[in-house]
C-alpha cells in the first residue's frame, strides 16, 4: 500500500495552532501544570495525526492515566475503538513502555520507538506520532533520561517520527528545565492562558550555520554555473562560427512543447533577422514555390519515420539558393514524433558547379552531335544536289530547245533520258538514307510508349526547370503496347521536345504537354504540344523535307529523320498549329498485334 500523496509530504500538521506544520523528525517538549494543560496540546495533536494516517503512540503518566486519556480522546474521535483495533493508535501507561521490565533502559526504549516506526511504515502509515509523559522519572534516573533525550534529539531527524515529551513544571527545577530545553528543538510553555514556543538556541545557531553553509554552497554553485555558462557561451560561439564557415545551420524542434529554435546561421541562410519568431509556415514561405509541395510531402513523411535528407531551393532576397536539409527525429512508444534536430546546408555553390558541368557536358554533346550530323548532311547534300542540279539544267535546256523554231527532237529525247537517269540516282540517295537509318540496328521490342516518354522527360528534366517550362503530361494509363525501337523512339520524342524548347525560347508563358491517346483499334497517337511561336503556315508542308530549317544553326535534318524513323515503325508524323498558341507535333504507332486487346 502506497502512502497517499498528502502523507508522503515531509511536512506534518501538528494540530497545535501556534506551531502549525512541522517536518518529520521534529522533537518538542511541553511544560505543564495541570491535566487540562496536557490535553490542550495532546488532544488536537493526536486528532491531526489520526486524521493524517499516522501511527500514534500516547505514553501516559500521572496525572493522566491511559484509560482517562483514551476516554477523553474518544469524545473527540468517535471511531477511536475501531482505530485502536485497526492498530493506528496505542495508548499505554509509562510502565508498559518506559519502565517495562521494572526499570528504565534508554537503549531498549530507543529501539522500541524505531521498531514502532517500522511497524507504522509496514502497515502503510505515514510515520509515527508520539508523546511520552515523564512524571514517573525519579531523580536518580534523571541523568540517564537526559542522555536518552539527547540521543533521541540527535537521531530523530533521520526518522519519520514526531515527538512531544511532556514535563511537569512541578517536578522540574531550573537546571532540569535547561536540560530539557537543550535536548528539544522547541519547547511549549504556557504563560497566563497563552501557549508560547521557545526555540532552542543551539538549534538556532545550527540553523544559522546551516544557512551560512548553504549560502556558501549557493555562491560556489553560482560561480560554477557561471563558469559552465561561459564555457557554454564559448561552445555556442564556436558552433556558430563553425556553422558560418561550413555554411551549415541547425535547428531544434520540440513538437510536444511546440518550440522551434534556429541557429544564427540558419537565420542568416534564410535571410531572417536573428531571433525573429518562427513557424513551419514561415519556413515554407521561403521555400521556392515549385519545391514547396515536395518539401511539405517529405516533411510529413519524415513524421511517419521516413528518412528526411532532401535538397531544395529557397528564395532569399529574390535570389535562388539551394539547401540540403537533414533531420533526426525522436519518437515515443506510439511512433509519434516528439522532437528533432535538423541541419541545413547551403549547397548553392555545389549546385552551381554541377549545373556548369552539366551545361558544359551538354554543349560538348551538342557539338559532337552537330558535327556528326553536319558531316552526314554535307555528304548527303552533295550526293542529292548533284543529280538535282543535272535534272534542273537538263530540263531548262530542254525548255530552251523547245522554244526554238526547229527543235532537235533527238537532242530533247536524249535530255529526257538523262533526266530520268538522274532522277533515279536521286531516289537512290534517299533510299540510301532510309537504309542507313533502318540499318542502324533497329531493335524492335514490345514497349509502353508512356515509359519511353517518361524516360525522355527525365533526360530533359533539368532543362525544363532551368528554362522555366511548365510541363504537364496527359498519358493514358491504359495505352496499348507498341512494337518499336526504344532508342529511336526516344530520339524522336527528344527531338520533338527540344524543338518545342526552341519554339518557346522567346515566349513568356512556356507550357509543354505530353499526351498519349489510343486512336482506334490499330494506332496510338503521341502528341507533343507547346505554347511556342507556332509554325509559319507557308512552311507547314516543307517542314519534314530534308534540309528544311528555320533555325540559324539548324541543319534541317531532325524532322526528316524523325519522319523516316516513324515511317519505319509503320506510323506517321505530322504537325498542326494550335488554335490558341504554339504547335503540336503528332505521331502514330501501330498497336502491337500480339498485345492489342
Amino acid at each position: 500500500m502506497m502512502p497517499n500523496v498528502k502523507d508522503s509530504t515531509n511536512l506534518r500538521n501538528t494540530g497545535i495552532k501556534i506551531i502549525g506544520h512541522m517536518p518529520w523528525g521534529s522533537h518538542l517538549c511541553q511544560f505543564y501544570h495541570t491535566k487540562i494543560d496536557l490535553l490542550e496540546i495532546l488532544l488536537p495533536y493526536f486528532k491531526a495525526g489520526l486524521k493524517n494516517n499516522e501511527f500514534c503512540m500516547w505514553i501516559t503518566s500521572e496525572p493522566l492515566s491511559a484509560k482517562e486519556a483514551k476516554e477523553t480522546l474518544k469524545k473527540e474521535i468517535k471511531n477511536l475503538d475501531r482505530l485502536i483495533k485497526k492498530g493506528q493508535i496505542e495508548i499505554l501507561d509509562y510502565n508498559q513502555w518506559y519502565t517495562k521490565g521494572g526499570r528504565f533502559d534508554a537503549d531498549r526504549v530507543l529501539a522500541g520507538w524505531i521498531e514502532k516506526e517500522r511497524y507504522a511504515l509496514r502497515k502503510g502509515f505515514s510515520g509515527l506520532r508520539l508523546t511520552g509523559n515523564t512524571l514517573w522519572l525519579e531523580r536518580k534516573d534523571w541523568k540517564n533520561f537526559t542522555e536518552y533525550e539527547a540521543k533521541v534529539n540527535s537521531a530523530i531527524g533521520r526518522h519519520r517520527m514526531l515527538a512531544i515529551c511532556t514535563y511537569s513544571l512541578d517536578k522540574c527545577g531550573a537546571l532540569e528545565i535547561i536540560d530539557v530545553i537543550a535536548n528539544h528543538q522547541f519547547a511549549l510553555i504556557k504563560r497566563g492562558k497563552k501557549w508560547e514556543v521557545i526555540e532552542n538556541a543551539e538549534r538556532k545557531l545550527k540553523l544559522k550555520k546551516a544557512k551560512e553553509h548553504l549560502e556558501i554552497q549557493i555562491a560556489k554553485r553560482t560561480r560554477e554555473l557561471k563558469q559552465v555558462n561561459e564555457a557554454l557561451e564559448i561552445t555556442r560561439d564556436n558552433l556558430n562560427r563553425a556553422q558560418v564557415v561550413a555554411h551549415i545551420g541547425s535547428w531544434y524542434l520540440d513538437i510536444i512543447k511546440n518550440i522551434l529554435l534556429w541557429s544564427d546561421e540558419t537565420y542568416r541562410m534564410f535571410g531572417l533577422s536573428i531571433g525573429s519568431p518562427l513557424t513551419y509556415e514561415k519556413f515554407l514561405e521561403i521555400v521556392h514555390p515549385d519545391d514547396r509541395e515536395y518539401v511539405d510531402k517529405r516533411w510529413m513523411a519524415a513524421l511517419n519515420k521516413e528518412p528526411y535528407d532532401i535538397e531544395h531551393r529557397i528564395i532569399v532576397d529574390g535570389k535562388v539558393k539551394w539547401v540540403r536539409e537533414k533531420v533526426e527525429l525522436e519518437f515515443d512508444e506510439e511512433d509519434k514524433a516528439t522532437r528533432g534536430i535538423g541541419t541545413v546546408q547551403d549547397i548553392t555553390e555545389r549546385k552551381q558547379a554541377e549545373e556548369d558541368s552539366r551545361r558544359l557536358r551538354e554543349e560538348l554533346m551538342h557539338v559532337a552531335r552537330v558535327t556528326t550530323m553536319g558531316e552526314l548532311t554535307a555528304a548527303l547534300a552533295h550526293e542529292l544536289n548533284q543529280p538535282l542540279m543535272a535534272i534542273m539544267s537538263n530540263a531548262q535546256a530542254a525548255h530552251r530547245f523547245l522554244a526554238k523554231k526547229n527543235p532537235d527532237l533527238d537532242e530533247i529525247g536524249e535530255i529526257l533520258s538523262d533526266i530520268i537517269k538522274d532522277d533515279k540516282r536521286a531516289s537512290e540517295v534517299i533510299g540510301k538514307l532510309r537504309a542507313l537509318l533502318r540499318k542502324s540496328d533497329l531493335e524492335f521490342t514490345i514497349l509502353n510508349i508512356n515509359d519511353v516518354i517518361r524516360e525522355v522527360i527525365t533526360l530533359v528534366h533539368s532543362d525544363i526547370v532551368i528554362k522555366n517550362i511548365s510541363l504537364s503530361s496527359d498519358l493514358n494509363d491504359k495505352i496499348p503496347l507498341v512494337s518499336g525501337d526504344r532508342i529511336q523512339l526516344q530520339q524522336v520524342i527528344l527531338n520533338l521536345i527540344l524543338n518545342s524548347f526552341e519554339a518557346m525560347k522567346d515566349v513568356d508563358s512556356k507550357r509543354l504537354c505530353m499526351r498519349t491517346v489510343q486512336e482506334n483499334g490499330k494506332f496510338i497517337t503521341v502528341g507533343v504540344e507547346d505554347s511556342g511561336i507556332g509554325i509559319d503556315e507557308k512552311n507547314i508542308d516543307s517542314l519534314f523535307k530534308p534540309f528544311f530549317t528555320t533555325k540559324k544553326e539548324g541543319l534541317g535534318m531532325g524532322l526528316s529523320i524523325n519522319k523516316v524513323i516513324i515511317e519505319a515503325h509503320g506510323g506517321s508524323l505530322w504537325a498542326k498549329n494550335n488554335s490558341d498558341k504554339g504547335a503540336t507535333f503528332y505521331f502514330t504507332l501501330p498497336i502491337s498485334k500480339k498485345h492489342s486487346k
Binding site: N385, Q386, M389, A390, S393, N394, Q396
Partner: protein, 206 residues
C-alpha cells in the same frame, strides 16, 4: 565579234553534261573539263570568257584553281558552284574575286545572270587590254630622245623649262614635242597624259 566561251569544270558527268546543254542553248560556246588540272592544260583563251567552277573537285579543288590562276595573272572571271555551300567558303571566294557563288541546284536565271555579268567583266578587260596595246604600239615608234621628252611633257612643264633639264635649246625641245605628238596621234597635252596613263608611262622626276 567572236563568240564568248563558257568553261565548265565539274567532276560529275551528269552535271557537266546538263550544264553544257543549258549554257549552249543560250548561244554560248562551251568547253567542259572534269578536273582543274585538265583546265590548266588548255591554252589561255583570247576572247571574253568565264569559268563555271565546282568548289569540290578531285585533286586540285576549285578554290586551289582560283589561287593558281591569280598567281599566273590570268584574270578569268569565275562563277563558283557547289553542292554543299558554306558561308565562310563563299565569302572567301568572293573576296578573292569570284563573280558569284551558286549553291546547287540553281535555276537558269541565276546562272545566266552570273555568266552575263562575268562575260561583260571579261569583255571590259579585253577592251582595256586592246587599248593598252594600241597605245603601246605608238609608243614603240618613238626614238629614245622623243620618249624622254614625252616624260617631261606630261609633267606639264613648258619647253623653256624642259630645255635646261635636258641640256638643249628650247627650239630643239619644240621639234621633239611636235614629232612625238604626231606619232602618238594626239593634239593636246591633256590627251597625251590620258594615253600614257593607260599604258603605265610615268612622268619624269623634276
Amino acid at each position: 565579234m567572236k563568240k564568248s566561251t563558257v568553261f565548265i569544270a565539274d567532276d560529275d558527268p551528269s552535271v557537266r553534261k546538263g550544264l553544257e546543254r543549258l549554257i549552249k542553248s543560250a548561244g554560248f560556246k562551251v568547253e567542259a573539263f572534269a578536273s582543274a588540272e585538265e583546265f590548266l592544260k588548255r591554252k589561255p583563251y583570247r576572247n571574253p570568257s568565264c569559268l563555271v567552277l565546282d568548289v569540290r573537285l578531285p585533286g586540285l579543288s576549285g578554290i586551289d584553281l582560283q589561287k593558281e590562276l591569280a598567281q599566273k595573272s590570268i584574270s578569268l572571271p569565275i562563277i563558283f558552284i557547289t553542292g554543299h555551300g558554306n558561308i565562310p567558303m563563299s565569302v572567301k571566294a568572293m573576296k578573292d574575286g569570284a563573280v558569284d557563288f551558286l549553291p546547287k541546284p540553281f535555276d537558269d536565271k541565276a546562272l545566266f545572270s552570273a555568266i552575263n555579268q562575268a562575260i561583260e567583266k571579261d569583255r571590259e578587260r579585253f577592251k582595256k587590254e586592246a587599248l593598252k596595246s594600241k597605245i603601246q604600239r605608238r609608243v614603240n615608234t618613238l626614238t629614245s630622245r622623243e620618249y624622254e621628252v614625252l616624260r617631261w611633257v606630261i609633267t606639264g612643264m613648258l619647253n623653256k623649262q624642259i630645255a635646261p633639264k635636258l641640256g638643249v635649246t628650247e627650239k630643239t625641245i619644240k621639234v621633239h614635242r611636235g614629232r612625238l605628238m604626231h606619232k602618238m596621234q594626239t593634239v593636246s597635252v591633256a590627251d597625251l597624259v590620258r594615253l600614257t596613263q593607260k599604258c603605265g608611262i610615268t612622268p619624269a622626276k623634276k
